[in-house]
Structures are given as structure tokens and as C-alpha cells.
């Protein structure tokens, strides 16, 4: 079984400096001192600050703490003379839309009695034709979780431990879709990956040598060729009641595989949404192709998912194609949908032990690896966590209990085309 020995902050592996922001005292002003430390660390990489437009993006599981820390850091940057300071989501699309030259990204989490803030100062090129960015400094600060900070945390909830993410090699598998479910009736969920030509199911096993993926079964996707396919292949896979429904765009039909039997199946199965059809020659679906009302989903979308929430309402999410990437479309119950621009093409909804989340891939910068962004399934869709420095492009996302501990994990298929390898990242 894949067990977590202890939770740890992945960011801590790469951060350059560790600075204690607070001493023994934990009275009022702890958050101010945390902000002071972060700004002190960022300052050398903000030279000629009077000429810079700076963005501040703080993500934390506690929105009020994130908001206050963001304000404190912003006010200090203004005091240093920054030409302008903008608070926001921290992704590249947001930074470009605001014409920023620097972005201070900070992630806050708690471990035991300590609150930890980590992040980076990212410089963005100002050239019209350039999309380059460069990490100028890594930031790290921590403070004791004193009364002031504890007041930010919701009472019944303990601060969740640090997020953990680890990659496991899945081989040279050009994954286009993922899902998790028990496909062989052994009571444990497998990870099922779909490429343009095959399905591969993996078990996650852990023993003395560590966790690894073990291939359980493999099946070819074939049949009559599609009359028209998109220029870049897409696929879907859904595990429902032990049956696997999969469809890849080179083929006219999909397959429904239950046990050892397999039969052709029409359409692309999107779990919780229905069975949809690609628009001819392109890579998106429409509500009509899924047999749902035009008001239920965006006019066109790359993928969609739904989740039955704890309050019995339904959350529906989709990724809408756009000229600068995807837009997350999110509708919670009967509320009007909200949109978050600048996301990647992948999507998953999950109920984790940390709460209900919507997970997207995030194209950090062209030429750099993607990120996975976890947002609260709430009206503001606040960023709870970003998994960065992934070794490639996020090709697919899924959620499910792959280690058998009773709690679902997030799974991301990360493809490095140049190295011709794919890793499945388990995020919890």
C-alpha cells in the first residue's frame, strides 16, 4: 500500500533560504513580521523598483489569511516605491494582462506548530513578442502558529498538513486521458490511462523498495477510423461501476470494456456529464453533442466534469477554449457560473480530506513545464495549492483513492516529449 510516511512541503526541497520570522514572542504583528521577512528576501531581486509594476499572489487554505498577507506584502512593496502593485491569482495570463514585470508568488501552509510561507520572485519579459520568465529569487519564511495566526484558522478544522506530490514513472506512454476505478473487481482502484491507440491500467503498489506503478492490463483501441479527427488527438476514459469506457479521436467508435469483454461504444464518455461527440475536425465538444441543454454547459468545451457536493448540490466545471489557452467555467448549484482565465486544458473535481476542490492544469510559461493548480470549490475559486516544477506537460488529471487509504488523491499524467517518458504524479 502506498502510505505517506509524513507530510512535507515539497517546496522546501528547493528553497534557498530558511529564515525564522518570529522569535519566542507570538503577539500581535506575527503576520507583519512574516511579510517583512518575505519582502526583505524579495528586495534584492526588485532593483530599480520605481520602474516596476509588481504583482502579488498569495495562496493559502485560509482565504482571510491569504488576503491579509497579500495586503501586507503589497503595502510594503508600495512603501519601497514600486510603480504599481497589483494583487491577484499569480498565473502568467493574469500577469501579462496587467503588464507586470515582477510577480511575487507565495504559498502558505501549516505544519505542526509552524506556519510556513514559501514562493518566488518571477521576472517577466516586457517584450511584445516574448513570453519568457525567469525566477529571480526563492522566498521562504516561517512563524510559530501563535494566537494571532491561529485566529485565522477555522476552529473545527485542523490546519491541513503540507501538500505532497510525487511522480512515478509510467514509461513512454503518450497519455491523453486518465481515470481511477476498480476495473478487475479486486476491491482496489486502478489508474486507467488512455492514449490514442491503447488503454493501460496501473496499480499503485508500495513495498520496501518504495512506491511504484505496476501494469495490470493493457488493451488496444482500434476499429473503424474516424472520418475526421482533430489535428492533435484527444481521448476520454471513464471508469463507472467496474466498466471502462474509452474513446480516442483516431477512431469512429469508442470501446466499453467490462471484465474481459469489450464492445464498441459511441461517443466520448465524460464522467458525471454524459456521452458527447467531438465537433468534426476540431477538439471541442458542445452541450448539444452531450444531449444536455445549452444552458448547462458552455457553448464549446475541451472537457467537463461534475461533482455531487456534500450539501447535495451539483458542481459543474468545464474548460472553455480561448485564444490564450483555456478558461475554467465553474457553476456551483444554481448560482451563475464563474470564469477563471488562463488555465490549461485538463480538469478534475474532487472531494479531498481538505475539502472540495477543482483541479486544473496550468501552462506556466511556454517552454517551461506545466503546473497543477488546486482551487477551492467555492465562489471565489481561491488557489489552495500549486504543484510546480513538474517535469513536462500535464496531459490528464483524475481523482480517486489509488493507495487504498480511504481518501482520494489527485493524479496527473505529466509527459516529457523530449525524453519520451510519462510520469503519473500523485498529489495529496
Amino acid at each position: 500500500m502506498f502510505a505517506v510516511p509524513r507530510r512535507f512541503a515539497r517546496a522546501a526541497i528547493v528553497l534557498a533560504l530558511v529564515v525564522r520570522a518570529g522569535g519566542a514572542s507570538a503577539g500581535p504583528g506575527t503576520l507583519d513580521r512574516l511579510a517583512d521577512t518575505l519582502v526583505d528576501r524579495a528586495r534584492p531581486s526588485l532593483d530599480r523598483i520605481a520602474t516596476l509594476d509588481v504583482g502579488v499572489a498569495v495562496s493559502a487554505p485560509w482565504p482571510r489569511l491569504a488576503g491579509d498577507l497579500s495586503e501586507l506584502v503589497s503595502s510594503r512593496l508600495r512603501a519601497l516605491g514600486a510603480r504599481s502593485v497589483v494583487k491577484g491569482g499569480g498565473d502568467s495570463a493574469w500577469a501579462r494582462a496587467n503588464g507586470l514585470e515582477r510577480v511575487v508568488r507565495i504559498t502558505v501552509d501549516a505544519q505542526g506548530p509552524t506556519l510556513r510561507a514559501s514562493g518566488a520572485v518571477v521576472a517577466l519579459s516586457g517584450g511584445l513578442w516574448s513570453d519568457e520568465s525567469e525566477t529571480r529569487a526563492h522566498l521562504y519564511a516561517e512563524a510559530p502558529l501563535d494566537a494571532e495566526l491561529k485566529a485565522y484558522l477555522p476552529g473545527p478544522l485542523q490546519p491541513p498538513g503540507a501538500w505532497q506530490a510525487r511522480g512515478l514513472l509510467a514509461g513512454d506512454l503518450d497519455v491523453l486521458a486518465l481515470d481511477v476505478g476498480d476495473t478487475d473487481g479486486d476491491g482496489r482502484a486502478e489508474i486507467v490511462a488512455a492514449t490514442a491507440s491503447e488503454l493501460v491500467a496501473f496499480d499503485l503498489v508500495a513495498d520496501a523498495s518504495g512506491a511504484r506503478l505496476v501494469e495490470r492490463w493493457r488493451a488496444r483501441l482500434d476499429g473503424r477510423l474516424a472520418a475526421q479527427r482533430p489535428r492533435a488527438d484527444v481521448a476520454t476514459v471513464a471508469v463507472e461501476a467496474g466498466a471502462v469506457s474509452a474513446h480516442a479521436s483516431p477512431f469512429a467508435d469508442g470501446v466499453r470494456r467490462a471484465g474481459k469483454s469489450a464492445e464498441p461504444a459511441r461517443g466520448y464518455r465524460l464522467r458525471g456529464v454524459g456521452t458527447c461527440e467531438l465537433e468534426p475536425g476540431v477538439d471541442w465538444f458542445t452541450p448539444a453533442s452531450c444531449g444536455v441543454a445549452a444552458t448547462e454547459l458552455p457553448e464549446r468545451f475541451w472537457t467537463a466534469a461534475s461533482l455531487k457536493r456534500a450539501d447535495s448540490s451539483t458542481a459543474m466545471a468545464a474548460i472553455v477554449p480561448g485564444p490564450a489557452g483555456g478558461t475554467l467555467w465553474l457553476r456551483l448549484g444554481a448560482a451563475p457560473p464563474i470564469a477563471v482565465r488562463g488555465v490549461g486544458a485538463q480538469l478534475a473535481l474532487a472531494t479531498l480530506d481538505r475539502g472540495e476542490v477543482v483541479v486544473t492544469s496550468d501552462p506556466v510559461e511556454p517552454g517551461e513545464p506545466d503546473a497543477v493548480v488546486v482551487r477551492a470549490l467555492a465562489p471565489a475559486a481561491a488557489v489552495l495549492h500549486r504543484v510546480e516544477r513538474l517535469p513536462g506537460q500535464v496531459r490528464a488529471l483524475a481523482t480517486g483513492d489509488v493507495d487504498g487509504d480511504g481518501q482520494p488523491e489527485l493524479i496527473a499524467a505529466v509527459r516529457d516529449d523530449a525524453a519520451r517518458k510519462t510520469e503519473l504524479w500523485i498529489i495529496r
Binding site: L225, R231, G281, G326
Partner: protein, 463 residues
């Protein structure tokens, strides 16, 4: 028992094409829409699959499809074909089964009779030498073409991926194909294309594309500077721009035409081999990555590498007492729409003057250059040859075909193409270069293949 001829191919040489491999980069899915403007390697003359002109070849790759194609990793893939079967009992007959759902730009379905007619037309044309092992092709069903072969052809699928196998309706000389773009207009030197929404391989991301050749480097650079050009071929070095580069497989050559008497071909060729400093030529006159040519096949396709011998004294000796003085004055035909070639011609002129050959440069427009190239009516001609497929033997035969397609056809009729199997006495390879394209940073998905053709169908804007 049937055996797939495609599987019988030895594709080992493709492995050397590492530079075909796409770069790993993180992007969300490509967006559809938008227009782009690109520079051609040379002016478009005749938008026909059998045209030899590089500019026409670039456009033909966008308009037409062939039964097979070579993917970005150098692997042979079916395109219009579903299968190619050769019966071992009758190895001189192959059956090509076609995809059923392909449509031409005018909406008519692409049938076996179109493929058979296109192959038949290519067989009648000198430019169809790449199909030499094919004796005849006929439609035996809507989706099956039966091919009679002159020899067992394990290379048949590879040959069916070459430009000679591109398909037009009824095999006619028309600019209608099944490819990702359709031709809208050719006016004032510009070729305007629009997306073929019903393309079986997927609608291209761009809505429209305008391609043209520029009269000079400053003109092209000026268009780039004002944003009127998104993909350029002749920008100066030293400026940081996004660029993509193909494998080093385009061979620049000097051809000896019918204007030179047969008796003088060997001394002229020897003078060119020894008297042109090919290493200096590629260093001083070529802006793309290039290596001097030691063999007709580029090293990237298995040809010899290294610097060829430069010995002007030996060149003079080889030439002087064999060619009379009055025959030493020759003209060199250059396509003036190929901007790089003018600088190369100047260097050649200087080198040959040292060995006693007086060269006059004859700048020709693209159309008359093509006419003279195909008719052989020239003394010397500077040209560029792209391999019809990523195969060293075919790359060499392409050079042979420059001077005489019949020799290339005869060689391929005897056996599959192989490096060193056929001499090219009238063609002297100068250097092998890697085509490079500069592109607007927001134009993504662009790659360039070994023939210098941009992958426009995969290009898309990210704003």
C-alpha cells in the same frame, strides 16, 4: 500470405533524423482561428504536385495528400492509405487500400480512380521518376488501387510518400487537393490559402494563410519589422527571435547543363570539385546551419561528412589543358527569388575565376529558371535539392534527376535507392543546409521538415 510492404521497409536511416523530434514545451491546447503571413523559399510558379520549384513544393504539401507520409519523428505513416498489401506469390502486384471518407476541397470524395490517375500522370512526367518501380496503377474498387510493379518493391510505401504521389481529382493538373488548406487566390505574387474545414486529418488551426516570396532581404526584413510577416526565411543573424530549424538535408548544387559539351563535363566537374572552397562558401555566404558537401547525400541521411578537398592548383591543372579558352566562358543561371543563392553565386564566381573559368551570372525569374532547369538549356545552374523522402539514396537520386530524370528513373527501376549506387556526373554538391524559419513568438506549433516546408497545418496563435 500477405505481407505489408510498409512493414518491410527498412527505416533505420530515419533514426538519424533526431532533429525532426518535436521540442517538449508546455502549452495548453492550440487555439483555432487567425491569419498568418509567411515567406516562401522561392516564388510560386505552378501550383502542381509535380512542380520542382521549392516554393511550389511548399504549397503543394499544404494542398495535396499522398498515400503515405513521414511524420515529425521520421516514421512512415499511412495518410490516404489504410493498407498496402503485397502478395508474396505475386510480388509484382500491390494493392493499396484507401481511407473511405476523404474529400477534396470542392467536396467531391477522393476515390481510388483519383489516386490511380494521379500516379499515372506522374509516371508520364519527368518529375515522377520517384515512382519508377510502378509500371501501372488502376482502380479496382472505390477504395482499392492495384499497382503493377516492375520489380519487387519493399520501398513502395516510401515512394508513395514522395511529392510525385500527391493526389489531385482525376489526376488532373489542378490546384485542388484534400490537404489541410485550399487555394483561394494567387494574385500579385501572393498565394492566399484558407482552412479546409473538412480535412480528414483535422482542420488546420489557422483560418487563413498568405504566402509569398520577397524580392530582397531588406524587403523581407521590412515586412517583418512592420508586422506584415509572421514567418520569415531570410532575416539577419544576431537578433533574438523565435526560430525553428529542420534537419540538415537540403543540398545546394551546381549543375552542368546541355550548354556544356559532353566532352567538357568531366573537366568542368573536376574544376568545381577542387576549385570551389565549399567550406568557406558555406561559412561566408550561408546564414543557415550548413556543412560542406563531401557526398551527394547529406550526412543526416547517411552521406559522408567532413571537409572536401580544396585545391585550386589541382583544379587548374585538371581543367586547363582539357578545355579550350573559348569554352571557359560560361553563364551561371540563378533563381533571383532565392535570396541566398545570389550571395553564393558571387562566391562561386570568384573561386572559379582563380582556376581560369570566367562565369557570368544570369539572374532569372522563378518561372524561366524552372523552364531552363527542366529543359536542361543552360550552361551552369545553381540550385537546391530537397530529398523527396528522408532517405539518403533518394536524396542522391534527386541530384541525379536535376540533370537527367531518366537516369534517376532507370536507377530506381533497377533497385531501391542506395547511397553511392548512382553517380551524378553533371551535378556537383556544394553544401548541405538546415532550413530555418524565424517566426513571431506568439505563433506556436511550427516546425520545418527536411525539405524546408513549414508545418502550417499545426501552427496556431497564442495571444
Amino acid at each position: 500470405m500477405n505481407a505489408r510492404a510498409a512493414l518491410a521497409l527498412s527505416l533505420a536511416s530515419f533514426a538519424s533524423l533526431a532533429s525532426y523530434a518535436p521540442r517538449a514545451h508546455a502549452e495548453t491546447r492550440a487555439a483555432y482561428g487567425g491569419q498568418a503571413l509567411g515567406a516562401l523559399a522561392s516564388s510560386a510558379v505552378d501550383l502542381d504536385p509535380l512542380s520542382l520549384n521549392p516554393g511550389d513544393g511548399e504549397i503543394a504539401a499544404l494542398l495535396f495528400d499522398s498515400p503515405f507520409r513521414v511524420d515529425p519523428l521520421g516514421r512512415l505513416r499511412p495518410q490516404l492509405a489504410l493498407a498496402l498489401d503485397v502478395d508474396r506469390a505475386t510480388p509484382l502486384r500491390a494493392r493499396l487500400r484507401l481511407r473511405p471518407d476523404v474529400r477534396f476541397h470542392d467536396g467531391t470524395p477522393l476515390r481510388a480512380k483519383d489516386v490511380a490517375a494521379s500516379l499515372a500522370r506522374a509516371l508520364q512526367s519527368p518529375a515522377g521518376w520517384m515512382l519508377a518501380p510502378i509500371r501501372a496503377a488502376r482502380a479496382v474498387a472505390d477504395d482499392v488501387v492495384e499497382i503493377d510493379l516492375a520489380r519487387p518493391a519493399p520501398d513502395l510505401a516510401l515512394l508513395l510518400s514522395t511529392p510525385a504521389a500527391l493526389v489531385t481529382p482525376g489526376g488532373a493538373h489542378r490546384s485542388i487537393g484534400s490537404g489541410p488548406f485550399r487555394l483561394d487566390a494567387v494574385d500579385n505574387g501572393q498565394v492566399r490559402l484558407s482552412a479546409h474545414a473538412a480535412c480528414f486529418a483535422g482542420r488546420p488551426y489557422l483560418d487563413g494563410l498568405t504566402l509569398r516570396a520577397y524580392g530582397s532581404r531588406p524587403e523581407e526584413a521590412g515586412a517583418w519589422d512592420v508586422g506584415a510577416l509572421h514567418v520569415a526565411r531570410h532575416l539577419g543573424a544576431g537578433v533574438d527571435r523565435a526560430a525553428v530549424e529542420g534537419p540538415m538535408t537540403i543540398t545546394e548544387y551546381l549543375a552542368i547543363g546541355r550548354g556544356i559539351s559532353d566532352a567538357f563535363v568531366a573537366p568542368f566537374a573536376a574544376a568545381f570539385e577542387l576549385g570551389i572552397d565549399r567550406d568557406r562558401l558555406r561559412r561566408l555566404a550561408v546564414r543557415e546551419r550548413a556543412v560542406p558537401a563531401r557526398s551527394p547525400a547529406p550526412p543526416a541521411l547517411g552521406g559522408a561528412s567532413g571537409v572536401p578537398v580544396y585545391d585550386p592548383a589541382a583544379a587548374t591543372r585538371a581543367f586547363a589543358d582539357k578545355v579550350p579558352a573559348e569554352a571557359r566562358k560560361v553563364s551561371l543561371v540563378v533563381d533571383k527569388s532565392r535570396l541566398e543563392d545570389r550571395a553564393v553565386a558571387d562566391r562561386i564566381l570568384a573561386d572559379l575565376a582563380r582556376v581560369g573559368i570566367e562565369v557570368a551570372i544570369d539572374l532569372a525569374d522563378a518561372a524561366s529558371y524552372q523552364q531552363r532547369l527542366q529543359s536542361g538549356r543552360y550552361e551552369l545552374l545553381l540550385g537546391a535539392s530537397a530529398p523527396p523522402a528522408p532517405d539518403g539514396g533518394l536524396a542522391e537520386l534527386a541530384l541525379v534527376a536535376v540533370a537527367d530524370p531518366a537516369i534517376a528513373r532507370a536507377a530506381l527501376l533497377r533497385a531501391p535507392a542506395a547511397i553511392g549506387a548512382q553517380a551524378a556526373p553533371r551535378v556537383v554538391p556544394l553544401y548541405h543546409r538546415a532550413p530555418r524559419l524565424h517566426h513571431a513568438a506568439e505563433l506556436r506549433g511550427l516546425a520545418v521538415d527536411g525539405a524546408g516546408r513549414a508545418s502550417w497545418a499545426d501552427a496556431h496563435w497564442r495571444r
